[in-house]
Amino acid sequence: MSAAPANVSAPTETGWQRFQRDRTPVIALWFLVGIAALCFSSPLLTALHWLPDYKAQDLALGPVAPGAGHWLGTDLLGRDLLARLLQGGMISISVGLIATAVALLVGVIYGVVAAEIGGRFEDLAMRVVDIVSTLPLTLIVILCTVVFGQNIWMIFLAVGGVSWLTMARIVCTKTRSLKNRQFVEAAVSLGQSRPGIVLRHYLPNLSGTIAVYATLTVPGVMLLEAFVSFLGLGVKSPMTSWGMMIKEGSDVMEQCPWLLIIPSVVFAATLLSLSYLGDGLRDAFDPRTAKK
């Protein structure tokens, strides 16, 4: 691999090898793995008493700037910011992953079915996607989360439920181009059923595209959740998410700027890494759409 000149890929090179040749997405991937591992191990760290409980208040202590006792300081109620940051990350990352899974499921089924039936049905289905995507979906998400009592699962569903449109469009276009390929024609002439063709031929060929756009959906979804939480309509206290922490920080940014700056930087860095990772994956696995 080291002998290959930059930006020229050998025909035998796999997408994964192409991905690894570019340094930034790989660094982004490791950063994300690290953050996620830290966040999801926070209950364990608390159980081992290496980390304070994110709910434990210390009103006598109040807000403390980052220092030796509390590495990232404490908030107005004397709660440890590091513990809250990790707990909030757990929620934000879960929303990112689960809502993306919902969006993926809906979008892929919708796109494949539309393209497989084809004709007027496909035109109509794609027109519906076009129209729905021009609607003020953020408002609908906000309403849903309020209606269903700011339940965390409803947030997953509502956010995922409005994020499938791009996926449906891309999957539909890809499937349509697969339909005319010779191996599909061969499968049809050999008498394979239509569901069989979808499962055996379409989905495996779509998997790369799906993986790439799933990665690109995650930051958007996390942003939407943070946005709803920022308006005070997301997860319920004492549970927290990065959006909610940024909101709490912006309320007291004059007295305690670290409460705003630390969660903001972590959140922005995570989103930045996710888009680097998504772009890197797209360039590696979907070279035709890659920008020169």
Partner: protein, 307 residues
Amino acid sequence: MFLYVLKRLAEMIPVLLVVVVATFFLAHAVPGGPFDKERPMPAEVKKQVEAYYGLDQPLYVQLGNYIGNLAQGSLGPSMKYPGWSVNQIIGARIPVSVVLGLVSLLIAILVGIPVGVIAASRPNTWMDRVPMGFALIGICVPSFVFGPLLALVFSLQLGWFPPCGWGSASHLVLPALALGLITAAPLARLTRGELMEVYTLDYVRTARAKGVSPMRVRFVHALRNGILPVVTYLGPAAAALVSGSFVVESLFDVPGVGKLFVTAIINRDVPVILGTTLLYAVALLCLNLVADLAKAALDPRTARDRR
């Protein structure tokens, strides 16, 4: 052309009906009502009030009444501000949001497109890398992070602009910058990407070969083609401005429609929730239509493809 616009406008009616029905049921399913206060109303009073707003009738009758009123252009009375109609409340706030939205869009266009053109003219030098780095950060930093940071630096530290409120031009600066610069980032990236492709086309080389000045090639010849996807992006950009305006208006205490929506949700003021949602839906659908028409005007090929 006229028929096409008519067809698109007719298409909006069923879409808006679906939006009304969906929002209606969602808004009525919100737990807690606008009359739930710390001290409960006497039962008879509550009954009277509910009868006044028609809340004692079955939901489908209420929906029918609402759509009937809507057809006559009335959004009904507000539940939180007695004596005010939703039309009045929203009408008073539209100019504020429109001014903020237009100034932000102007900032986005005046910053985003030139930056994209400059970056594309010197690809892979510092003139490309530095602005594009900022653009990537601009995409990843949400408005609710950028807004407070702007307020922290320019208002609390430097004291140049008021941190919140509305009324003078200096009040407009921070919210418009927060919204506009965030929207400028994707515009700059889009412009750069498209121009890079257009620069490889034959007609650009021809223009250069016949001695057209480089500035003219960039801003006149290439930009006209390169701008097409940017114009299409106007629709999504407007949507982003709308959702950004919730945050920015709440943050800088701007009395616009975005803040009204958030307050209405917290107050459970159902007619106001419905009215603002409908307003946003109409605005976004119209903006998308305008974007499509502008694209057709710039690119005769898409005009021909249209049915």
